[in-house]
């Protein structure tokens, strides 16, 4: 009786069936989890600093930008939150932090807003842009900005930077064969980055039809204990 099920069409149906059932089960679990999170007697989702396991909404790190604004780097589970902004409540009042999501990795969101001080205690609310509904909240103490060196003391630059129009690159996909350039010397940019597993060259990518490039600036291209090894 079972013999007819060994035919390819039945096996394909079987495989398709397993896939469909698995997908449905997966969606059911996800839906259930979502309902649990949002519906538990109207409780808000609470969040904190990230632990080792990144499974739920959490703060990865705090930082600063050029204008001394505070950056809040968040892990946000995919598809579980709509577009949002942060409302930070401090002793001095409330302020809004705008957020941007990474195009490629949707779980990465960073927000920027008014400067926060070390040892300051504040509440962060995650608020939906669409309807201003509070989605999650957490209480934080900024114990450290985790910024090394004296960067926090550095003022916003006064000098307007000279921004390049483009780098000098050669479009020929060849590895330059010239001799090593002396320490501290910047050679004319030459497109080279390649390796055995890579196809040739890395010049001008036609991404979005905008010419971009990778140049190589050479300085002391010798093996050192720091640079070694490749492919550990």
């Amino acid at each position: 009786m079972l013999k007819k099920f060994t035919q390819p069409k039945y096996l394909l149906i079987l495989v398709a069936g397993i896939i469909v059932i698995s997908s449905l089960a997966w969606f059911a679990v996800r839906l259930n989890r979502l309902q649990e999170r949002s519906g538990e007697s109207g409780k808000l989702v609470s969040f904190d600093y990230c632990a080792e396991e990144l499974t739920k909404l959490c703060v990865v790190s705090f930082g600063r930008d050029a204008d001394d604004n505070t950056i809040v780097n968040l892990f946000v589970p995919e598809d579980e939150f709509p577009i949002f902004y942060l409302k930070v409540t401090r002793a001095t009042g409330e302020s809004v932090y705008e957020c941007d999501k990474n195009d490629e990795v949707k779980t990465s969101v960073y927000c920027t807003g008014d400067p926060l001080n070390l040892e300051e205690r504040f509440d962060i609310q995650i608020v939906s842009v669409k309807d201003d509904q509070i989605l999650a909240q957490g209480r934080f103490t900024l114990t450290a900005f985790l910024i090394t060196g004296p960067t926090a003391d550095v003022q916003t630059p006064q000098t307007t930077p000279e921004v390049a129009s483009s780098t000098q690159t050669e479009s020929t996909p060849t590895v330059s064969s010239g001799t090593s350039v002396a320490s501290g010397d910047l050679a004319t940019a030459t497109a080279t980055q390649s390796n055995n597993d890579l196809a040739t060259p890395t010049t001008s990518v036609a991404v979005n039809q905008t010419a971009t490039s990778v140049a190589v600036i050479r300085a002391t291209p010798t093996a050192t204990s720091d640079s070694y090894p490749s492919y550990p």
Partner: protein
């Protein structure tokens, strides 16, 4: 237990991409299985056919992907897609084989699914593929998808003559199924890993006539050594795909030259062998060297077989001596010494086990063992043999990562042959002690399983995970905040992977390598130890119009304290613990 849960969680997280890639692979396997059925009728068992198909699937998928690309380029991607669907449907019917044997098919996919779950633990918390190669793979795949989208051949692709296979297959899957390129790369790698051990079962099962030895070999190849899983830490996806098709070539070569010509007509085996070699070269050009080595080693075997036994013994000693010399030389070469260290450190106990089993392999399967040792010896020579390549200059025939990747294959085969040899030894010496034979088999399997439980690393290595979540935030900030034509300086280092290699090859050493492919921004590679505090360097950065410097969180990233100490030259623009962007200022 955690590994299983992490594997399942990663599978669930990538469910759509996994399904699409698995269905594509199943189509490739279906075609290969159908061909095997038509050529060899029922001389191969269902499991053997599936095992070979598990190695040969990249060939049909690759040829279809190339055809899809050509049609899309000449006409439109929609026409390309319609033709492709037509080919998939018609070929599935034309190449349908005999009825599938349900129990063996079930067993095959049960083992495959188990392996899949375990391999997916690697993707836990992985949001971008590892190391610097991956960024280049992303860039190439993106160039192909842009060609699909715009219908114009990307200038970038004209120079891309190597490793078409992985990039074209991935681009096709990404574009037509609307999957993220990153997801396709991550998932594809783990799925390829899943199917890699099966063809070795076929080879050893047929060579030794022992199913257990075949399974033992597959177990060793899948989880016995740090390779091929460690390839994912290096982001060497084309090399990984090449391993699959190499196994297919080995299987076909085995049927063509070692199989019974009445059971396995040679002309069919040669046709499939040719297809396999062509696909293999398109997937990874360095496989040509490998096939040349296999050819030379096979000729050496034929000559060796005709010699007197004393000369044969001397030749074996010579080959072993040659390998020892190569080991000594490679250990003294800074670029090659990691070759053996990788195995000695990570796979020490498995090397001991395989080493012991090799004695039995030599006793009972002398010819095959001699062939494998010859291959090892010639591969060692290829590490020091120079050849000139127009684009890359003088290089060695093989580089260290490629040999390191490949070594797990002969090691696993030797282990499988030795397993069968040991069982035969017991059978010969103690014919009445069947229990002892079973006990020995259980012990050998147990040793490998214990090694897997305590030694095998199912997760990605921090050595090669360039990108942290802080880097992702920095990328988003760069994308939104800096001028489109700004150039960003990223840290790099010279590549040291071969005894002969142009010193100019530079590679990224932190997440900065992803800026150009992900954001389409100009980047400039600079040696990671460059003296950024020298006025000469600063003025040259200004002259080169480098606007920003990216500092990732890797040990070889630029030194942040140096930049922070010079606020008149470098201004912090974005700062998170593991990712910083400095603006170059003070240019006159």
């Amino acid at each position: 237990m955690t590994v299983w849960l992490d594997g399942l969680a990663s599978l669930a997280a990538h469910a759509a991409t996994v399904t699409i890639i698995l269905l594509s692979i199943l189509w490739g396997m279906w075609i290969i299985r159908g061909l095997l059925d038509q050529f060899y009728k029922e001389r191969l068992s269902e499991f053997e056919k599936l095992a070979i198909a598990a190695a040969g699937w990249p060939a049909p998928i690759l040829f279809l992907a190339l055809l899809l690309f050509l049609i899309s380029l000449i006409f439109t991607s929609t026409i390309g897609l319609i033709v492709t669907i037509g080919i998939i449907l018609s070929s599935s019917f034309v190449f349908r084989g005999e009825k599938l044997s349900l129990p063996q098919t079930f067993l095959f996919f049960l083992l495959g699914f188990t392996s899949l779950i375990l391999h997916f633990a690697f993707l836990k918390d992985m949001f971008l593929p590892s190391y610097f190669d991956s960024a280049e793979h992303y860039r190439l795949i993106h160039s192909i998808t842009e060609t699909y989208r715009l219908g114009i051949l990307s200038k970038e692709l004209l120079g891309t003559v190597y490793h078409l296979g992985f990039h074209f297959i991935s681009a096709g899957l990404s574009f037509f199924f609307q999957q993220s390129i990153v997801d396709v790369i991550l998932v594809f790698g783990q799925v390829i890993l899943t199917f890699l051990p099966f063809p070795l079962f076929f080879l050893i099962k047929n060579e030794t006539d022992s199913t257990l030895a075949g399974i033992f070999t597959a177990l060793l190849a899948g989880f016995g050594f740090h390779m091929p899983q460690h390839l994912m830490n290096w982001g060497k996806y084309p090399a990984l795909l090449s391993l699959a098709i190499i196994s297919f070539v080995l299987c076909m070569a085995y049927l063509a030259f070692r199989g019974n010509p009445h059971s396995y007509p040679r002309k069919y085996s040669l046709i499939l062998l040719g297809i396999g070699i062509l696909a293999s070269i398109l997937i990874h050009s360095r496989t040509i060297v490998l096939y040349a080595i296999l050819g030379i080693a096979s000729v050496a075997l034929l000559i060796w077989k005709r010699q007197r036994s004393s000369i044969r013994v001397l030749t074996i000693l010579f080959v072993l001596g040659l390998i020892v010399i190569e080991i000594v030389f490679s250990r003294s070469d800074s670029a090659l010494k990691l070759l053996l260290e990788g195995y000695l450190v990570k796979d020490f106990w498995m090397l001991i086990l395989v080493g012991l089993l090799t004695i039995f392999s030599f006793l009972y399967f002398t010819e095959t063992t001699f062939l494998l040792f010859s291959v090892l010896a010639f591969m060692g020579l290829a590490l020091f043999t120079p050849f000139f390549l127009p684009i890359h200059g003088v290089q060695s025939l093989l580089d260290r990562p490629y040999v390191q990747m490949f070594l797990h294959l002969p090691f696993s085969l030797l282990g499988g042959l030795g397993f069968a040899g040991l069982i035969q030894t017991i059978k010969r010496l103690l014919p009445s002690r069947e229990l002892l034979m079973r006990f020995t088999a259980v012990i050998l399997f147990g040793l490998v399983l214990i090694n897997i439980a305590f030694q095998y690393n199912f997760y990605s290595s921090p050595c090669c995970r360039f990108t942290t979540r802080d880097d992702l935030a920095a990328f988003t900030w760069l994308d939104h905040s800096i001028p489109e034509d700004a150039t960003i300086l990223i840290a790099s280092s010279s590549l040291y992977v071969a005894s002969l290699q142009p010193s100019q090859i530079q590679t990224g050493v932190d997440a900065g390598i992803w800026i150009q492919p992900l954001l389409a921004r100009n980047t400039a590679l600079a040696w990671q130890g460059m003296q950024l505090d020298s006025s000469e360097i600063h003025s040259q950065l200004c002259n080169k119009k480098v606007g920003y410097i990216y500092i990732g969180g890797m040990p070889q990233s630029f030194s942040e304290p140096i930049l922070a100490a010079l606020p008149e030259w470098y201004s912090p623009a974005f700062s998170l613990p593991k990712a910083k962007v400095y603006q170059v200022i003070g240019c006159h």
